[in-house]
């Protein structure tokens, strides 16, 4: 594996990295930026954590899903459906 640390122009500062994370996770970051970001994260413990944390939030909050509907609202909806039934 090559070490790009000697080429600061390919490096990314953490302050820039944090703003690119969502584009990265969404898969819309240009390939060159993906390489810079991944190279940076690989050698930066802070950004490694940051990325892991953002990843755990992304799509990971399904357990907060509210399954219940106010019972009165549900009753009212089903009643109006019944009224309209062909």
């Amino acid at each position: 594996m090559t070490d790009d640390r000697a080429h600061p122009e390919t490096d990314l500062a953490c302050i820039e990295e944090v703003e690119l994370i969502t584009d990265y996770l969404e898969g819309v970051l240009p390939a060159a930026d993906v390489r810079r970001l991944e190279a940076h994260v690989e050698m930066c413990p802070g950004c490694t954590e940051y990325l892991a944390q953002m990843r755990s939030i992304a799509g990971g909050l399904g357990a907060l899903r509210e399954e219940s509907i106010p019972p009165e609202l549900r009753r009212a909806l089903l009643a109006s459906f019944r009224e309209r039934r062909p």
Binding site: A13, C14, I15, E16, V18, E19, I21, T22, D23, E26, V28, C44, P45, G46, C47, E49, Y50, Q53, M54, S56, I57, A58, G59, G60, L61, G62, A63, L64, R65, E66, E67, S68, I69, P70, L73, R74, A76, L77, L78, S80, F81, R82, R84, R85, P86
Partner: protein
């Protein structure tokens, strides 16, 4: 719960199948309430909007052509109902306007967390870095952080809260969110980014999971001293 197929549901609704209607109501109403809350000032008005939306769905189901998914179609109707102004305290602000107002263009992470741009060795690198979260096996939502996350989401500005809820709680795709809220992919990402960043920050604050790394960032003569 896997989502029932649109064609079956549409056909069943047209036939007046109450069970199919109930399935659809149970499936979408929680998210509809969340989206409606973006447009109107109170939970009560949001419930009213949702109710009117379902009535419009029943009325319009015969005209549904299946060019979008049934879900997208329902949420488009919801947006129209919410925006119609109506007699009450409805507000007719398109979601895109709400979104634009929330995009301040400011950095999402406090610049004080980083070394200054003129730092000799590590400009823009973490000064106060994120530290590992003691996440239980069951994930972030298993313990007390669940309440912290829920509160952080509630505290988000409306457009951000809506986008994050649909993407990360309801599990919608970005395309579905853009279609339902009539916003561009770019706007959707900006809102999502700001929202996720804030939620992350709230968890971090609660866990106290930061680490001052400025001591480690010194010239390499002092680094990795093997003792």
């Amino acid at each position: 719960m896997p989502e029932p197929r649109d064609e079956h549901l549409t056909a069943a609704l047209r036939d007046g199948d109450e069970r199919a209607f109930a399935t659809l109501v149970d499936l979408h109403t929680p998210a509809m309430l969340r989206v409606a809350m973006a447009y109107v000032p109170s939970r009560a008005v949001a419930e009213e909007v949702v109710q009117e939306t379902w009535i419009a769905v029943m009325r319009g189901i015969d005209d549904f052509e299946g060019r979008s998914s049934l879900k997208t179609w329902i949420f488009r109707i919801l947006a129209n109902v919410a925006m119609r102004g109506g007699s009450r305290e409805r507000r007719s602000v398109p979601f895109a306007a709400l979104a634009a107002a929330e995009d301040t263009g400011e950095p999402t992470v406090d610049p004080d967390r980083f070394l200054p741009p003129d730092h000799e060795l590590f400009p823009g690198h973490w000064a106060i870095a994120p530290a590992r979260w003691p996440t239980p096996e069951e994930g972030l939502l298993a313990g007390e952080t669940r309440g912290v996350i829920a509160a952080a989401i509630e505290a988000l500005p409306k457009a951000q809260r809506t986008v994050l809820s649909l993407r990360d709680v309801e599990g919608w795709s970005s395309e579905e969110v853009c279609e339902a809220l009539e916003i561009s992919a770019g706007n959707q990402r900006i809102l999502l980014h700001r929202a996720r960043t804030r939620v992350r920050e709230a968890i971090e604050e609660y866990l106290g999971a930061t680490e001052d790394v400025t001591g480690e960032l010194v010239p390499d003569t002092a680094q990795q001293d093997p003792t």
